[in-house]
C-alpha cells in the first residue's frame, strides 16, 4: 500500500515490526527484504510520490520537486552543489541508471585500512546477483547511445586508451535523454519501479510526504519515531505521525540519516557521526565541434560511456585518478559552461547541438564534515563543510587538462569549463593556463551526486558509526543501509554499491526471521 501525505487528514499512530526511513537505493532494498520475510513493515519517505505520467522533462519544474532543496543544496562555501533525490525512490528516481560495482581495490583498501574483513568480493557476490536481477542490470544497448557519448569511446579507441559503455538498470529504454528529471516511460529501474512496488505488494505500508523528525528509545530495545506529514509543494508540516517499531532501518541518505540521529540525541558515543564525508566532486566540460558534427547531447542515454584510462585505483587509497563520462539532458545546467555572458555567451549557445558535454569525475578522500540546524518548522538545515585537499585539486587540474586535450584530439574547436575564471580554449597549447586555476568558491561550480560516508562502517565506535552488520555501535535494533556507511567512495557511481551493501545485511536479517 502506498499512502501519500495528501490522503492523510488526521494525526496518525502506527505500530510495526520494522520501520524503514527513506525509500532510495538503501531503503528500497531494505523494505523489500523485510516485507518478503513476512515482517510488518512501514516505510516513511519525506518526498512525494510521482509516477511516469507526472514527469514533464523540464529541469526547472522537476528539479524543484524531485531534488533535495530543489537542487540548491551546496557545501557551506558554495563550491559544490550536492544533488540528492528526495521523492518516492530517492535518488534512484533521478539518476542516470549507470550501474557500477564497488571496485575490488576499494574493498581491499577497506580491509587494509579499516579491518573490514567481512566486506569481500565473495561475501557480496550473492547480493550482486540479486540486485542485478531485480533491477535488470545489463550493458546499454547500442541503439540508445548518442554521439555525445560515442565520441568518447571512438576517440579512446583511436588513441589506444581504456574506455567502455556502462552497464545500466533500464528496461525498454527509448533513449529520451531525460533521466535526470524522472523517466516518463517507466524504463529506468529505480527502487520506485522495483523494490518498492514489490514491498508494497508483500504488505509493506509506504507513506510518502512524511518526514521523520526524531527517534525516541523505549524500553526493551523498541523505539517510537516522531514524524510529520508534509504539504507536498512547500514541505510545511500538516499533521503529526508516530510509529512504534521493534527495528529501525535508516536510509535517509548521507546528509539526513546522521541529522535524524543527532536530533534524537542518539549520537552520544558516536564521535564519527557526521564526519568522513566524501563528495566525489565533478567538473563539467563542454567541447564544441563543427556544425556538421551533431552531438545532440540531450537525446539518448545521457551518461552512457566513460574513459577510464586515468583510473588509479589501489588498495593503498581505494579510488584514485579521474574519469571522463558523457553528460547530457540538462539544457539549463549545461548552458552554464564557459565564463561568458552577453553576446559571446549567446554565440556559444548557438552551438548547443554540436557541443559535447563531459563530466570529469575526481574521486576524493573522506575529509568532509557535517553539522545541522533545524528551523521552527522542524526542517533540517545541513551544513556541509568540505575543503578539497591539495592532492585532489592537483588531480582535478590534471583531469581538466587531459580531458580537454582528449577533446581536441576528438576534433573539438573550442573547449570550456564551468568556471568564472578560465577562458575558452581553442587549441591544446593554451591548456597550461589551467595550472593556475584557483579552486575556490564562486570561481567555479563543482557538482556532487555521490555523497557518502557520514556514518561509516568501522570496527568500533571510536572509528565508525555502524559495525560490519550495519548496526549502530551504540544501540540495538537500529541499522543504517544508505550511502552514509561507505568508509570511502565505493565506486564511480554509488547506487549499486549501496543496494549491494543493504542487500547483504537485509537479506541476512530477513532470513534470520
Amino acid at each position: 500500500m502506498i499512502i501519500q501525505g495528501q490522503e492523510i487528514f488526521s494525526p496518525v499512530k502506527l505500530k510495526t515490526h520494522t520501520l524503514v526511513i527513506g525509500s532510495g537505493s538503501g531503503g528500497g532494498v531494505a523494505a523489500y527484504h523485510m516485507a518478503s520475510a513476512g515482517l510488518d513493515t512501514v516505510v516513511l519517505e519525506e518526498g512525494g510520490y510521482f509516477q511516469a505520467r507526472d514527469f514533464n522533462q523540464r529541469e526547472e519544474d522537476m528539479m524543484s520537486v524531485l531534488y533535495r532543496s530543489g537542487g540548491n543544496q551546496t557545501t557551506a562555501d558554495g563550491l559544490i552543489t550536492v544533488f540528492q533525490g528526495s521523492a518516492f525512490g530517492g535518488s534512484t528516481l533521478v539518476n542516470t541508471a549507470d550501474a557500477t560495482p564497488i571496485e575490488p581495490e576499494v574493498l581491499h583498501h577497506w580491509q587494509r585500512q579499516y579491518g573490514l574483513d567481512q566486506l569481500t568480493e565473495e561475501a557480496l557476490a550473492a547480493s550482486y546477483e540479486r540486485v542485478y536481477t531485480m533491477t535488470n542490470v545489463h550493458r546499454l544497448e547500442d541503439r540508445i547511445l548518442n554521439r555525445n557519448n560515442l565520441i568518447l569511446v571512438e576517440t579512446a579507441k583511436r588513441l589506444g586508451y581504456k574506455a567502455g559503455v556502462f552497464n545500466s538498470n533500464r528496461k525498454g529504454c527509448i533513449g529520451s535523454g531525460y533521466c535526470f528529471t524522472g523517466c516518463a516511460y517507466d524504463a529506468k529501474q529505480g527502487t520506485n519501479l522495483t523494490y518498492l512496488p514489490k514491498a508494497s505488494a508483500l504488505g509493506a505500508r509506504i507513506y510518502t510526504d512524511v518526514r521523520v523528525d526524531r527517534i525516541e528509545p523505549l524500553s526493551g530495545g523498541r523505539y517510537r519515531v516522531h514524524a510529520s506529514v508534509l504539504e507536498r509543494f512547500n514541505r510545511a508540516v500538516r499533521l503529526p505521525m508516530t510509529v512504534e517499531a521493534e527495528r529501525i532501518i535508516m536510509a535517509a541518505g548521507t546528509v539526513h540519516t546522521p541529522a535524524i540521529l543527532k536530533r534524537s540525541g542518539l549520537d552520544r558515543g558516536l564521535p564519527q557521526l557526521g564526519r568522513n564525508l566524501s563528495l566525489q566532486p565533478q567538473m563539467v566540460m563542454s567541447a564544441s565541434f563543427d556544425k556538421s558534427e551533431a552531438m545532440t547531447s540531450w537525446r539518448g542515454a545521457p551518461q552512457s560511456a566513460y574513459v577510464n584510462e586515468w583510473d588509479d585505483n589501489r588498495p593503498e587509497w581505494g579510488l584514485g585518478g579521474f574519469r571522463m563520462e558523457g553528460a547530457g539532458g540538462l539544457v539549463g545546467l549545461l548552458a552554464q559552461s564557459s565564463k561568458a555572458i552577453g553576446h559571446e555567451h549567446k554565440r556559444i549557445m548557438q552551438e548547443y547541438p554540436n557541443t559535447a558535454y563531459t563530466a570529469i569525475l575526481v574521486p576524493d578522500h573522506p575529509t568532509g564534515t557535517m553539522s545541522w540546524d533545524w528551523d521552527d518548522n522542524g526542517r533540517v538545515k545541513p551544513r556541509i563543510d568540505y575543503t578539497p585537499t591539495a592532492e585532489w585539486k592537483q588531480r582535478l587540474i590534471n583531469g581538466m587538462k587531459q580531458s580537454a586535450k582528449f577533446m581536441f584530439e576528438a576534433g573539438a574547436r573550442r573547449v570550456d569549463f564551468n568556471t568564472a575564471v578560465l577562458p575558452s580554449f581553442t587549441n591544446p597549447d593554451q591548456l597550461s593556463k589551467i595550472d593556475d586555476l584557483p579552486i575556490e568558491p564562486g570561481l567555479m561550480n563543482l557538482v556532487s551526486a555521490h555523497p557518502q560516508g557520514s556514518c561509516r562502517v568501522g570496527l568500533n565506535a571510536d572509528v565508525g558509526v555502524v559495525d560490519q552488520n550495519l548496526k549502530l555501535h551504540n544501540l540495538d535494533n537500529i541499522y543504517i543501509v544508505d550511502g552514509s556507511v561507505m568508509p570511502t567512495t565505493a565506486s564511480t557511481h554509488t547506487m549499486i554499491p549501496i543496494m549491494v551493501m543493504s542487500d547483504r545485511i537485509m537479506h541476512k536479517l530477513a532470513n534470520e526471521g
Binding site: R58, N72, S176, G332, I341, G342, E344, H345, K346
Partner: protein, 190 residues
C-alpha cells in the same frame, strides 16, 4: 575587459586583496536597507505580479538579466523578451530562505555598490546603459572574492531560467521535451 580575459588570479596576491575590499563592500551593503532601495527610481514598464521579489529587486534583476542575455546578436530574443526576472521570481521558493536572502543581498550589492566599486559611477546599476552594466558584471567576475560569487550566482540563475524556457529553444537547436505536460505540483492544484 572582455569575455576572454586571462586568469586574474595568476596574480594571486592582488586577487586576495581585491577579495578583501569586496568583502568589506558587501558587508556594508545591508546598512543601506530597504529604504535606500525603495527610493530607487523605477524607470520603464509595469512591474508584474511578484511572488518573492520586491518591485525594486525585480527592476535590478531585469537589468542584470538583460546584461547577461541581451536582445539581438546571435539570435534575436533576450532576457527581456520572456520577462526573465519575473520567471526567476516565479521559481524562487519562499521556504528556501537562504536562497531568497542570497538573491536579495546580491541584487542590493549590484544595484547600489557595484557601479561605484567597479566603474566609478554614482548611478544605480539599473539606471546605467546596457554596455556599462555588462562591463560592471565582467569586472565583478574578474575581481574574485564575493563579487565573483555574486556574479556567478546571477549568471547561473539567468542562464538556467532563460535556456529552460521554450522560446529560447528554436534559437539553440534544441527540440525540447518529448512530452508536453504541466508541472505535476501545479496539477495537484497548488
Amino acid at each position: 575587459m572582455d569575455n576572454n580575459n586571462p586568469l586574474p588570479s595568476t596574480t594571486r596576491r592582488l586577487f586576495l586583496q581585491r577579495s578583501l575590499i569586496a568583502m568589506a563592500a558587501v558587508a556594508a551593503t545591508p546598512v543601506l536597507g530597504s529604504q535606500a532601495l525603495t527610493s530607487t527610481a523605477v524607470t520603464s514598464g509595469q512591474t508584474p505580479t511578484l511572488k518573492i521579489l520586491s518591485s525594486e529587486e525585480y527592476r535590478t534583476l531585469a537589468a542584470v538579466t538583460d546584461a547577461i542575455i541581451p536582445q539581438s546578436g546571435a539570435f534575436p530574443i533576450g532576457a527581456l523578451d520572456i520577462d526573465l526576472a519575473a520567471r526567476i521570481d516565479h521559481h524562487l521558493k519562499a521556504e528556501l530562505t537562504d536562497v531568497v536572502a542570497g538573491v536579495s543581498g546580491a541584487l542590493m550589492f549590484i544595484e547600489n555598490k557595484a557601479p561605484e566599486a567597479f566603474a566609478g559611477k554614482t548611478a544605480r546599476f539599473s539606471d546605467l546603459e546596457t554596455s556599462e552594466r555588462e562591463s560592471i558584471l565582467l569586472a565583478m567576475r574578474d575581481a574574485g572574492g564575493v563579487p565573483t560569487i555574486i556574479f556567478s550566482a546571477m549568471r547561473g540563475l539567468s542562464i538556467f531560467y532563460f535556456y529552460t524556457h521554450e522560446d529560447a529553444w528554436p534559437h539553440i537547436g534544441y527540440d525540447g521535451p518529448l512530452v508536453k505536460r504541466p508541472n505535476p505540483v501545479q496539477q495537484m492544484g497548488v
